[in-house]
């Protein structure tokens, strides 16, 4: 039987190579892309349970007096993330076949395939070097994907690149220092060695975990590094943004669950209340990320930037869930990362369809698209309902789990931050709905058509997926339990409908909520149908105190109230916003480095300094001899 793992790695690479040659016919290229992601999802599906499947390659590089071996193994955690990531990629691939017609083709299929190859590698890596190799490959190819050969995206991608390079070098440093401890690059061995290190030298262990944590935080845009998504998501190609925001933000989460959680779980660390100190820092960081992400999202006017910050906020929820270290918390976090994948791909796909049709990204220039693109509107509506965590759909169950876990661990202020963020989420989600899909339809877009068929299919599939997970959370909870058992937690069998809580008799039957929702809908419909008929009225026949808007020359765009949607709320935060703005500090730092580099290169151009520098060198050698 051909080695599945090897095939899963080779096929994306071969197709990447193939597509570079036939890059001209974009239809064929993107169908190939869909075929590959379809194949991956299928093989992964068949691999559920086959935890013994491994593949390794011997590199012949002598280190730790043994030959270096890189290996991939199918483990529950890796499989969990890989399978759902490849399902989402398959749906996005179907979307991008239609999206990349001759006008929008971003010619980035080969790079994306390399990214998928790296994606599989990261999730199944068994030793740190394979992990690091795939991680670096992923950040490089994502840089080229975001920049995709255009001027402005290149600037945004440069900021992302510098951050991810910092991440990779801290990762390398971390890997080597941990490998030195356990004399092997194997991940599980390094976890055990780090746990006993906690006993001996606490500060050193925290430093090593810090190195790893920095990389994972950068990639998942947790608090100190929350600025890059708004630039990177907005500028990347529209059909790549769903992949970027859903799958790629999960690498950091995977890293935390793979490495940091087991250590914090087993190592004996001085506890602060019920949970240990580093976990509390993790919780606080998660809380700040979600609150900051929500507030920044509320003030954004570009819809893709807005949802970039929304993804940052959702990552904050997941990190908060993980930081509780309790079974419920981790279940909630894993469930939410999959929910976030489904929801964000739905939202970003519908936005991509809007941009595909209108070519406009600023919200206040759009309006009333629901009447022209009803399906996209429905997909987006269900997307924001579940993103806001409203019961019948899938977003609710995972948020509920995380809140329950946080409460049972008595992390009160973190719960308050979570509630502030999820209510705030409701604000910016509705803002996009109101300014893009509802309100007045500008004359420019009077005749735009619904998204093409190939785009509509994936969107509807995701919509049904959201409903299905919302009604039957078991679909995701069963694999989540498999992961938890794999990580050594004793957790009881997940049922198809109910979700368990840490509190006494407050388990939740999610399907029940769906029935209640249906009952409510039935009664409301009765009232609706028993009342008098309504007359359809044109869009500009509005109450304007008797004036005719056209008398005063107000075009539909100007008649929409959507530019300063939360202006009073924004004014409350303005003083605080100017005070701490990471973007300004980062830009200033960039400027300083550029000024130094100019200074140094000028130093080289002047010729007369050459001999003087030589003698300075000799002086260094002489002084060096005495002092150091």
């Amino acid at each position: 039987m051909v080695d599945k793992m090897l095939m899963m790695i080779l096929i994306p690479l071969i197709t990447a190579f193939l597509t570079t040659i036939i890059l001209k016919q974009h239809k064929v290229v993107w169908t190939l892309f869909l075929a590959v992601s379809g194949y991956l999802s299928y093989t992964l599906f068949t691999m559920y349970g086959a935890w013994d499947l491994t593949w390794s390659i011997e590199l012949g590089y002598k280190i730790f007096d043994s030959n270096l071996v890189l290996s991939l193994a199918n483990n529950p955690l890796g499989w969990f993330f890989a399978f759902f990531a490849s399902v989402t990629t398959m749906l996005i691939a179907m979307f991008s076949i239609a999206f990349n017609d001759d006008k929008h083709d971003s010619k980035t299929a080969p790079i994306w395939l390399i990214l998928i190859f790296a994606n599989i590698g990261i999730f199944f890596a068994q030793d740190w070097l394979m992990f690091f190799g795939m991680w670096e490959m992923m950040s490089m190819s994502s840089y080229f994907m975001i920049a995709h050969g255009k001027e402005i995206p290149a600037k945004a991608a440069k900021f992302y690149l510098s951050l991810s390079l910092v991440g990779t070098s801290t990762l390398l440093l971390g890997i080597i220092s941990v490998a030195r401890l356990s004399q092997t690059f194997d991940i599980n061995a390094s976890i055990d060695s780090l746990i006993n290190l906690f006993a001996t030298d606490y500060n050193k262990a925290i430093l090593y975990i810090g190195l790893f944590a920095v990389t994972f935080f950068i990639k998942s845009a947790v608090f100190p590094f929350y600025m890059w998504p708004s630039k990177a998501y907005a500028e990347s190609p529209d059909d790549f943004t769903p992949f970027l925001s859903t799958v790629m933000s999960k690498y950091g989460i995977y890293g935390i669950v793979l490495f940091i959680l087991p250590i914090l779980q087993n190592a004996d660390i001085p506890a602060l209340g019920q949970i240990n100190e580093p976990a509390y820092i993790l919780a606080v960081l998660g809380a700040i990320t979600s609150v900051l992400g929500t507030i920044l999202a509320i003030f954004e006017t570009d819809m893709k930037k807005l949802f970039a910050y929304s993804s940052v906020a959702n990552i904050g929820y997941i990190v908060m869930g993980l930081s509780t270290l309790s079974i419920i918390g981790i279940q909630g976090a894993l469930f939410h990362s999959i929910n976030h994948m489904v929801i964000k791909s739905a939202i970003f796909l519908s936005l991509a369809a809007v941009i595909y049709r209108t070519g406009e990204r600023e919200m206040h220039k759009l309006g009333g698209l629901a009447y022209r693109m009803p399906l996209t509107f429905m997909v987006y509506l269900l997307g924001i309902i579940s993103a806001a965590g409203i019961p019948p759909l899938n977003g609710f169950a995972s948020k509920w789990l995380i809140i329950q876990a946080l409460m049972s661990q008595n992390m009160l202020f973190v719960v308050i931050a979570m509630i502030f963020a999820s209510t705030g989420a409701f604000m910016y989600l509705f803002r996009v709905l109101a300014s893009v899909f509802l309100g007045q339809l500008p004359d420019k877009y009077k005749h735009i058509k619904e998204a093409p068929l190939l785009m509509a299919i994936p969107m509807t599939i995701i919509m049904l997926l959201m409903l299905a997970i919302g009604v039957l959370p078991g679909i995701i909870m069963k694999p989540v339990n498999a992961v938890l058992i794999g990580m050594g937690y004793d957790v009881q069998e997940a049922s198809w409908t109910t979700v368990h809580s840490a509190f006494s008799n407050s388990d939740l039957n999610v399907t029940n909520i769906f029935y209640i929702f249906m009952a409510g809908a039935a009664i409301a419909l009765v009232f609706y149908l028993f009342s008098a008929k309504s007359v359809k009225v044109t869009q500009d026949d509005n109450y304007t105190a008797g004036e005719l808007p056209s008398d005063w020359g107000t075009t539909p765009e100007r008649f929409n109230f959507s530019y300063g949607f939360y202006q009073p709320f924004k004014e409350m935060f303005n003083p605080m916003m100017d005070l701490i703005s990471f973007d300004r500090w980062m830009a200033a730092f960039g400027k300083i480095v550029e000024r130094i580099s100019n200074g140094l290169s000028v130093l080289y151009t002047k010729s007369e300094g050459a001999i003087l520098m030589l003698y300075i060198g000799v002086a260094i050698l002489i002084i060096g001899g005495w002092i150091i």
């Binding site: 149908l529 028993f530 008098a532 008929k533 026949d541 109450y543 105190a545 008797g546 004036e547």
Partner: protein, 201 residues
């Protein structure tokens, strides 16, 4: 599902159901004040504790979409008439119009003014007109009760008149608003100044 507002069905539907609905319509009337002239001052006393219009379920509303009654409380010049008609048309069926005081009905003291219309009834169907150069609150309350009885009896069908002979109303309205030639012969006396550089209207 019954549809009570399409024109044809309404006439042959004086069954019990209509009576019941009329009772509810009578007991809950919402007013939209179109305060043009001096009549607006008469309404607050009617609504506050002295006469308390709300006892009968009558209350002020902000938008034509929610209002049942349109109160026009004074003389209306040509420009105001344009706004009144637009507001009237924005109100859903069944709707009623109350005209306040003599100015609205026959132009009152502005009967011979060049821009005040003399008869509101020509432009929109009026259900009840209240006499008085600004009627006192008692008169207003009395007219409200009269309107309620008419609704109960099912006779307050002015809004259907607007639909039935819309052409008539439209013609009157166009005469006011549409471009028209000089009305009097004296227009010829206009002084047209030939500017040394260019002509002037």
């Amino acid at each position: 599902m019954f549809n009570i507002n399409s024109l044809e069905q309404q006439d042959n539907q004086d069954k019990l159901w209509d009576k019941v609905i009329n009772y509810f319509r009578k007991r809950s009337l919402w007013m939209l004040h179109y305060c043009t002239g001096c009549g607006a001052m008469e309404l607050p006393p009617v609504m506050t504790s002295r006469w308390d219009m709300e006892r009968f379920g009558i209350g002020p509303m902000a938008t034509p979409r929610q209002a049942d009654i349109l109160l026009i409380t004074g003389y209306s010049s040509v420009r105001t008439m344009k706004r009144i008609i637009r507001t009237y048309e924005q109100m859903p069926e069944p709707k009623w119009v109350l005209a306040f005081g003599s100015c609205t009905v026959n132009g009152g003291m502005y009967w011979d003014s060049y821009n005040v219309i003399n008869n509101l009834g020509e432009y929109i169907p009026v259900d009840i007109t209240i006499a008085g150069c600004m009627p006192r609150p008692e008169a207003i309350l009395d007219s409200m009760l009269k309107l309620m009885d008419m609704i109960q009896a099912g006779e307050a069908k002015a809004f259907r008149k607007y639909k039935e002979n819309y052409a008539y109303y439209k013609a009157n309205q166009d005469r006011l608003f549409m471009e028209r030639g000089p009305v009097l012969e004296s227009a010829a006396l206009r002084y047209v100044h030939e500017e040394t550089e260019g002509g002037e209207a």
